[in-house]
């Protein structure tokens, strides 16, 4: 057993490479899906039914579909539309589109719970348009949804593991490669699990920090 862990540690470069890919895929998804999620949330809250309903349908559909199936549909479906993307682009695209729906739901929830008085008070103080949004609304939306976004980041992190199936060399792919070459299954996947755990602990610590900062702002 100890020898197995030594084999794994001897290939730490593969693990670091996989971890790096997992990290940047997750981070890119978090950033991009937050942006598109805000836009989608705005569509869901829009007045015209023709805008609101399709946005709602998309979000509801995504929340019923397993990520792996969606990734398969993107991976096999895009070539049918004569769009040739490599597995990286497919993986990232699937992650972003899928998590856009979840982010939109988070933003919509935070928006619905935002107190109207704050906005009215802002208006009364002469805030309007972009300053109103940037100074009054956005900080509150952001701080209200940080714990949920942190939680969603962990789901994004875990969903990147599915991309090994469409041959994206992320952390689980690296662990699987080491295990199938040297047959050290226990050690290789335990090390991968610990790395995922460390990343999650990092995410949770950052959420705590931001929450503390939010408390400071409120004074």
């Amino acid at each position: 057993m100890n020898r197995d862990f030594l084999v794994v540690f001897a290939h730490y470069d593969q693990y670091l490479n996989g971890l790096w890919n997992t990290l940047w895929l997750s981070a890119a998804t978090l950033v991009l899906a937050s942006i598109t999620g805000c836009i989608l949330a705005a569509l869901m809250l829009a007045r015209p039914r023709a805008v609101r309903l399709p946005a709602r349908w998309f979000v509801d559909a995504m929340r019923c579909v397993p990520f792996l199936l969606f990734a398969y549909l993107v991976y096999y479906g895009l070539p049918e539309l004569s769009l040739q993307l490599d597995s990286w682009a497919c993986g990232l695209l699937a992650l972003v589109v899928y998590h856009t729906a979840y982010m939109a739901e988070i933003v919509r929830g935070a928006w619905t719970n935002l107190s109207r008085e704050q906005i009215e008070a802002g208006r009364a103080f002469g805030f309007a348009g972009f300053p109103l949004f940037g100074r009054i609304i956005l900080p509150q939306l952001f701080f209200a949804s940080v714990p949920v976004i942190g939680n969603q980041s962990i789901y994004i992190l875990k969903d990147t593991a599915f991309l090994m199936i469409i041959t994206v060399p992320e952390l689980t792919f690296a662990a699987s490669a080491v295990q199938s070459t040297y047959f050290v299954p226990f050690a290789s996947f335990v090390v991968a699990m610990l790395l995922y755990w460390l990343v999650t602990l990092g995410v949770e610590a950052s959420v705590k920090r931001v929450e503390a900062a939010a408390e400071m702002r409120r004074g």
């Binding site: 019923c64 096999y76 049918e80 593991a161 952390l171 991968a192 995922y196 602990l201």
Partner: protein, 213 residues
């Protein structure tokens, strides 16, 4: 559409493995939550670590670890058993957190009143705590079930012919992967919607039975 039977067989495998994990995972989560709630020394910290690690582990990594790793600690599991165990370990950690938050929010004065009436700890739990706690936990537990169904395609990597693997087999045989995956996606959506519908039904039933008084 000659492949529909294979797809439905796969759906049956997905459903039964998920059901096994759900049926065992809810009481297991409750047991873990009680260990945390009662602050049983050592065990409580072990459960906290278990939940923290499992919460961070992708289902696919856990499935690979359990299926390929278990022989090296002297346990040989078949693919189906490994699949069910993966989902059970995964869901029990999340269920533990759900039960625990309901237990933490449970009003202290009710417990004290029950103690004043001379109820034993077991009776207190059975008569006072549990009948209320399960109702507050139900929506979150069903939500966790839908997450479990959505994580279950990960099991295809260890070779059980679940819905996902059935779809990819058909795709490989016909050189047309898109139609079977679309059909599989629709079946998954139906399963999730069925659960959500069942949850609404049970919630209404509970409201009608208990909250009218």
């Amino acid at each position: 559409m000659a492949d529909l039977p294979l797809l439905l067989q796969g759906a049956l495998v997905t459903a039964s493995v998920s059901l096994a994990a759900i049926v065992l995972g809810i009481p297991m989560g409750l047991a873990l939550a009680i260990v945390r709630w009662q602050r049983i020394p050592v065990l409580s910290q072990v459960v906290a670590a278990y939940v923290s690690v499992i919460r961070a582990t992708p289902a696919i990594t856990l499935a690979l670890l359990i299926f390929f790793g278990s022989p090296s600690i002297g346990i040989v599991l078949g693919a189906t058993a490994a699949a069910a165990l993966t989902l059970l370990i995964n869901t029990s950690a999340f269920n533990c957190e759900i039960w625990r938050s309901a237990l933490i929010d449970f009003p202290r004065d009710q417990l004290e009143a029950a103690r004043a009436y001379g109820m034993s700890p077991l009776l207190r739990f059975r008569r006072i705590v549990f009948p209320q706690v399960w109702r507050t936990s139900l929506p979150a537990l069903v939500n966790e079930m839908t997450l479990l169904i959505k994580a279950s395609p990960a099991l295809a990597v260890i070779g059980i012919v679940d819905l996902t693997r059935a779809a990819s087999r058909i795709g490989a045989a016909t050189y047309q992967p898109l139609p079977p995956f679309l059909a599989a996606t629709v079946i998954y959506m139906l399963m999730v919607m069925l659960l959500v519908g069942a949850q609404r039904f049970v919630e209404r039933l509970v409201r009608e039975r208990f909250d009218l008084a």
